[in-house]
Amino acid sequence: MTPELGQIALILALLLALAQSILPIVGAWKNNGAMMAVARPAAFGQGFFVVMAFVLLVWAFLHFDFSVQYVADNSNLALPWYYRITAVWGAHEGSMLLWIFILNVWTLALAFFSRQLPEAFAARVLGVLGIISVGFLAFILFTSDPFGRLIPMPPDGGDLNPVLQDPGMTFHPPVIYMGYVGFSVAFAFSIAALLGGELEQAWVRWARPWTNIAWAFLTCGIVAGSWWAYAELGWGGWWFWDPVENASFMPWLVGTALIHAQAVTEKRGSLRAWTILLSIFAFSLSLLGTFLVRSGVLTSVHSFASDPRRGLFILCFLIFVVGGSLLLYALRAPKVAGGKPFAVVSRESAILVGNLMFTVAAAMVLLGTLFPLIGDALNLGKISVGPPYFGLLFPLLMLPIVLLLPFGPYLRWGKGEPQILKRVMLRALLAAMACAIVAAFFVDGKLKAIAGVAAAAWVAVGVLLYIVKRWREMPRGRRYPAEMAGMLFAHAGVAIFLIGVLLSESLSATSDVRMAPGETKTIGGYDFRFDGVRETQGPNWRADQGTVTVTRNGKPVAVMQPQKRTYTREQIQTESAIDPGVTRDLYVALGEPMDKQHIDGAWALRLYYKPFIRWLWFGGLMMMLGGFVSACDRRFRVRRTAIVDVAEPMHASVLAENRT
């Protein structure tokens, strides 16, 4: 009975989403208060039914309801309860249900916190979110039903893909969807502004905290995904430029540009059309990512079930939403564009350069991701571009951003002062060079590592100098408003990230070895002694577990136990063992036994020494923290009357400028 209830809940949610999308937008157009007032109740109703459907699917998993095809495919009696919950989003259908669930979380939050917005504007925003809901609910109901029955009911189910049976996987998908889907809010704000022909930029201020939070979630999700790939896939790498990774990275790049462009537009009124365009791009890339992952047009390590019908549906929806909004932009942007002029040396210019770099980088990633498809289309045969392409172009495009980063906070809006910049540049340059020279002694002349240390010092000194400057010049309590603190956190995160990436990339040591029990192999100054393999047992797997004792100069460092697990359905999964540390990670993955009959004999092992790799995730988490802290700024929480007070004078000045 529960699966049918879930299905009915989804149908009701679809009907309410239709009401939420059509009535408020028409109402705002016709200036009909009653129709606009439908937005919130419809959103609450839709949210209720979507949450209900989601909970019912969780329920079906927890109660082993194998009469539901999706449950039977992705869980079994031996699967622990926590993985039965995460199995909800372990495959296509449930993962789309999670998508719509999270869209509703955002919609509910917006319906709740938008009461101080002008009525017509709030109605349009909720209406646009309703349109997106309609698309995805229809997608689930017509092409990917998670509640489909399986007759006859099997006594036991299949299994959750063992790759997904990992703590990192429990929160990676929800968090990354929070980011992905969260850009729908910035998108809805922009479309609402275009529809209403908003002349003032107040809407950008309302959109900013939402965008920042979505961006922070996306950052966290990407960090978690990268960590999971590192810990679980057993390749020791943290980023593979895989189509699915790129699908989440492109919205992140554009989203990063967007949160900076929003700051310009909110404070100065400039770059308004650009901000709108970026909001459309960020969400379009989220949708495109969904398309790429779900349609099976590209092959990827993330082997999701693919179905051309699904691809066609998303493509049609993509054309409607993205094509429609870009057309709307072409027609309406001239009406909302405008702003103050700015000098070449100004914060606006610096942000604009950064914006261009991020956007071009996103375009570069898009091109690389779609390259196999272009190859097919132009009949060039099977071609794909991989790490060499991305690894060359991406750092080149990010270089100007790293170079500009220390100056950002020092630059004034409108027109910056070159003298201050020179002082900052001199100090940052000296610090970078000093650090590089010291580092050169430790990394035996590896250029990439020296560049990493220098770049990190360059960015970090810029951030530190600004912290000191604010401390000296501003009275207590007004030194670091949340918006600025967030910026400082995020920029410091970039410095930490640079250290992590460049040092771990250049100084890592890897060794694929055959080791007999008792044998010792040394890499990175650590001695790895292989103590043999024995069998062990988990709740739904059995494993060959190796023991590797690591010592350094005779002192014990760690005992590592990599496993090779065999799950219920004979799927094999490597569990690498990681000994984490601030300055290095040690990483051991178990390969194959040399003689299959004697697992207590010699084995193939893969040993890694990865210096400073942890810093790149830590840097990512700092950026995430920056996003959340910025979103908490009091300025974003002003009440309706205050908004009018603050916005009016600015609005007047912008209009005056437009007239001249």
Binding site: G296, S306, L315, V322, Y329, L373, I374, D376
Partner: protein, 180 residues
């Protein structure tokens, strides 16, 4: 006009994605048909279920086409397929050979006693070793083998009335005609 550039760019992208869908429907890279199709069936030598001292081999079955049906008493979906096979067996035009997969012979006999036995020949593969050569990964599966011992069609999962009419019967009709 310049404001239309993003829209035009997007249309080009959408065109490329549409092409991708069309291309992938025509060139399915994932659904590889069984590599055994149009290849000789693997060699096998299996005891008969009811007379374990006698064996059936690939050679002993040459000369007439047959449908090899992999089933087991523990397999729930086999119970779904069974009535369909039973009803279709007399008019199928080829012999129905049962392949009892990873089953205890007594369980299999009891199961056949309750559900009926449409098979003209019954082999038992208690260990499942031979099934590996056929690429069997779950029961039920069915292989259509022609008179020369070449596999012409394979179906994974139960044979439903739809599969029977739309796939199996056309496959049987397409078998090379042999002088009988």
């Amino acid at each position: 006009m310049s404001r239309l550039i993003p829209f035009i760019g997007f249309l080009l992208l959408a065109g490329l994605l549409g092409f991708g869908i069309w291309w992938n429907t025509g060139h399915d890279q994932t659904a590889i048909p069984s590599p055994l199709i149009n290849k000789p069936a693997p060699d096998f030598k299996l005891p008969l279920l009811y007379e374990p001292t006698q064996t059936a081999t690939r050679e002993s079955l040459l000369g007439k086409p047959y449908l090899l049906n992999v089933f087991a008493s523990w397999c729930i979906e086999c119970g779904v397929e069974h009535p369909v096979l039973q009803a279709a067996a007399p008019t199928l035009g080829v012999a129905l050979v049962g392949y009892n997969y990873k089953d205890a012979p007594d369980d299999a006999k009891a199961w056949l006693a309750t559900h009926g036995n449409p098979y003209s020949l019954l082999m038992a593969d208690t260990s499942g070793q031979t099934a590996i050569d056929f690429g069997v990964y779950a029961a039920p599966e069915s292989f259509l083998v022609d008179a020369h011992g070449v596999i012409r069609y394979k179906h994974i999962g139960p044979i439903t009335p739809e599969v029977l009419d739309n796939e199996l019967k056309p496959a049987i009709a397409a078998l090379p005609q042999e002088p009988r």
